[in-house]
Symmetry: C2
Subunit: 516 residues, 2 copies
């Protein structure tokens, strides 16, 4: 029976009302009533995510305009559901009721409600407009290597970012207001201090790693890699680390990502280079790490903070843990190299040691997204410094290219020959995403600290030595995934590792990996 | 930049309000204000279609429950937008205004509003429940070949169907009320008379076709057909008949269909048999025929009847025209056989005549969806008769299997050995879709009549003789697609062919094809 408009009409005449998501069982607590509203909002939000996923994966070119209208309507609806007076009243009722066990949910809901409602509609519209224009201008400027045409847009976005920061408020400096959107409870001064203590070591480790890698040919892993064989290995490995394909899948996109379309529907994407199986495989290990976190949150609370990942710095810790600590380790490849050699015969030329050296080869690059584990954080330090100064008015937009290149030279000992491979490479600023970058490095630090702590358990480490990661995953599920956003990121790190986010374990890990 | 819940949250904080689809330009006509409401409703409906498409194509197994909740919420929202008092008021204002040029839109909008609002919420819920239960019971009964367990569900659905028919009203008999949901303006008596005049010829032609085909081996087309090669040919052929891949695509599903997700986003699906390229190819020709209709309706009026296909009988005429009149014709394969032989070398054993005989081979089957052009309508005649009698109380549900088999024997000269391949084979009744079946045969009649009329133009027929179908498509776009639902199906047939739907051209076509 074909579905088509005529049937859609028929369907409109027969809404599946019995499925409507507001159970009529009374009496309900104020929290249950609030929860119903959040459930409805989450259904709209996850529908919007599905439309967004389709846009990245399968949407035909000419379908884009209508998709934008659909997403605009849904965004408006979702915003309304989460900011209306009746929602405010429902939230206040639930707060007054103070149902035991829901303290964390109420705390987070209040936090997000206040953030959202402190920004007046006019500013919301102004930012949405500025970032749409900004993204378009950035794409063109990047293509034309012409920073000057992007600068005025970034000026506008900076003004808006400062306005938002003032409306949201902050302890130490405006940047904190933006940073804490992505990293709940984070504070610029603390992050800056943490990064300062690491900088010299990171520069030093990177230099050593790059130097050591100079003797290793760059092309050891390259060779015929048919897409089907890559898909086979990607899937076998994602499954083996615990990604549940009955609640998720892998599709192909230009820019790999992980998105969650529902409590049991996590979509990963990757891209394939038919001469380099490793680029897709490590991409999948990274995205599957995100996916395991999403699959590990309590699915019956997907509409509540307690069912939601807590921050990007914790999210990134999961992706980096599986990509780097597991995926680039000896035990892992003791198990998987033979299989990889079956699928990609050119790898038979390498023994395990050579293979491990090859996948951990390091080199400087101008482009963050191409950076390896040893050099990645230097890209973040640079961006964090610049955007912090921009926000504090210590750096003018027009001076970004010079500042970028000067700082890049200090860290990498080389200078990008164009802004396209320099300060124009990332989309983040163009879409108003200031404050996002530090979460990548926080993720690296958290990953090392969590992995070190887990390995302290002999059950976990003994199994891991045999490439059995099941105990590691259940530890992460128990300590991180199952907690949702009920603990702030730093509380979560303390409860899982006994300490807030520190640099020690990460430096130890990098040294042992790259000084060898 | 990964999209994930954290970002969705961010997005919720920044609704793209500037994109909201209600332009603020005043003064607006009452029709414009109505149009805005329909535009919003259409955005929700097309979002629901997208979720439905994903469910059929890519949704992971465990994502189904959440998807059902999303669709239930959207159905409810869509229903509300189209039935609210404020919508009624907007419709009445537009009717009072009677804006010139919008008569047809207002007529159709009123018609659908009345249909929808005449059904009380309680009955809507009852039907939705009964059809959910019915589908589940049907699937099990079909698997177990156990009609008795399905019977009580069908009883319920019949009672509901009769209730709806009474609420909607009808000229001649209750069946008309259901039929006209799918075939606007159709009338049971007229359809029955039309089918009666055709029955003997159809039985006779089928018998001849089957008899003649007995001498032709059934496996002439079978042979190695790698999926990639099938996809190549499917795409080349769909493109050559005018399907726009910048506004559509092809994916893989168990049951092929065509669905429209937006004004420039038409999705076809097919399945592949690696030993039979023809099953997928003719499926694509059929679905692409539906797709050309969807792509041919005025995309700027997608939210209005004038941008909507008018009926299933007209929709099916487009799919059957491209599948059978074009896709099984000599000129078409004079052009395409060499290409098919390149991709599927086993076809080199056949010359054009043998190939044409092979693709037009006919045989009786118990299963409608496997039936060929010469025997298809007999399956429809049977179903139409039975469901009409069921509704009129001339046939009891418990007597369906006996009635089915008796009638089947008269028409096909054979009797299904199980109800699974008999009266339990179709899902339509189980989901309350009584009145749907006749539209398949109406589509066959319309297809022949439209094709004959088009061939009356020397431009169209001369081009077609060289397998150039562009003039044929532009004629269909002008006479059918561009009209949307501004003319009733029979008015549309008259304006395009000078006559209402008749059987003559169809019988001529079948005779010339199967008596050869």
């Amino acid at each position: 029976m074909q579905t088509r408009k005529s049937n859609d009409t028929a369907r409109e005449q027969i809404p599946l009302v019995k499925l409507l998501i507001l159970p009529k069982t009374l009496p309900m607590s104020a929290f249950d009533r609030l929860s119903e509203r959040l459930r409805e909002k989450h259904l709209y939000a996850s529908a919007a995510s599905t439309l967004g996923w389709d846009q990245e994966t399968y949407l035909p070119e000419r379908g884009v305009a209508h998709r934008a209208d659909q997403l605009a309507l849904l965004s408006g609806k979702i915003h309304e559901l989460g900011t209306s007076d009746s929602f405010r009243a429902a939230l206040e009722d639930a707060e007054a009721e103070a149902l035991s066990g829901q303290e964390a949910n109420l705390r987070e809901l209040r936090h997000h409600f206040d953030l959202t409602t402190r920004i007046p509609q006019a500013l919301v519209e102004k930012e949405s407009q500025a970032s749409s224009m900004g993204k378009a201008a950035w794409a063109k400027a990047r293509a034309d290597n012409d920073f000057a045409t992007f600068a005025p847009h970034l000026e506008k976005l900076l003004v808006i970012a400062r306005e938002k920061a003032e409306l949201w408020g902050y302890e130490d400096e405006p940047y904190t207001a933006l940073l804490s959107c992505y990293e709940r409870g984070a504070n610029t001064t603390e992050v800056a201090n943490l990064f300062d203590t690491l900088q010299d070591d990171l520069v030093d480790i990177a230099a050593q790693a790059v130097e050591a890698s100079r003797q290793i040919p760059a092309d050891l892993l390259l060779g015929p890699a048919p897409i089907e064989s890559q898909q086979t290995l990607n899937r076998e490995i994602a499954e083996s680390i615990g990604f549940d394909f009955s609640a998720g899948r892998i599709d192909t996109t230009t820019h790999p990502f992980c998105t969650t379309l529902g409590p049991c529907d996590v979509r990963l994407t990757t891209r394939y280079d038919e001469n380099d199986f490793a680029s897709s495989l490590f991409g999948i290990l990274h995205e599957a790490g995100h996916g395991l976190y999403e699959q590990g949150t309590p699915s019956d609370q997907a509409h509540l903070p307690s069912g939601d990942p807590v921050s990007l710095g914790i999210h990134e810790s999961q992706s980096r843990l599986w990509e780097n600590h597991v995926g680039r380790s000896r035990p892992f490849w003791e198990k998987w190299l033979p299989r990889a050699q079956e699928l990609f015969p050119h790898l038979r030329a390498l023994d395990l040691n050579q293979f491990l050296i090859a996948i951990n080869r390091s080199d400087y690059t101008f482009v963050r997204v191409e950076a390896d584990e040893a050099t990645y954080d230097l890209h973040i330090l640079l961006r964090f410094e610049l955007e912090r100064k921009l926000l504090n008015g210590e750096l003018q937009v027009k001076d970004i290219p010079a500042a970028w290149n000067a700082r890049f030279e200090q860290l990498f000992n080389m200078v990008p020959s164009t802004d396209t491979e320099g300060c124009l490479q990332d989309i983040h600023w163009a879409m108003g995403g200031l404050g996002y970058f530090p979460t990548y490095s926080l993720g690296n630090l958290n990953a090392a600290q969590l992995f070190q702590t887990a390995m302290g358990s002999s059950t976990i480490s003994t199994a891991f030595a045999k490439a059995d990661t099941a105990p590691l995953l259940s530890w992460l599920q128990q300590e991180i995934h199952s907690k949702g956003a009920t603990l702030l990121p730093q509380e979560l790190m303390k409860s899982a590792t006994g300490r807030p986010t520190e640099g020690a374990d990460y430096l130890t890990h990098l040294r042992s990996r790259f000084s060898a």
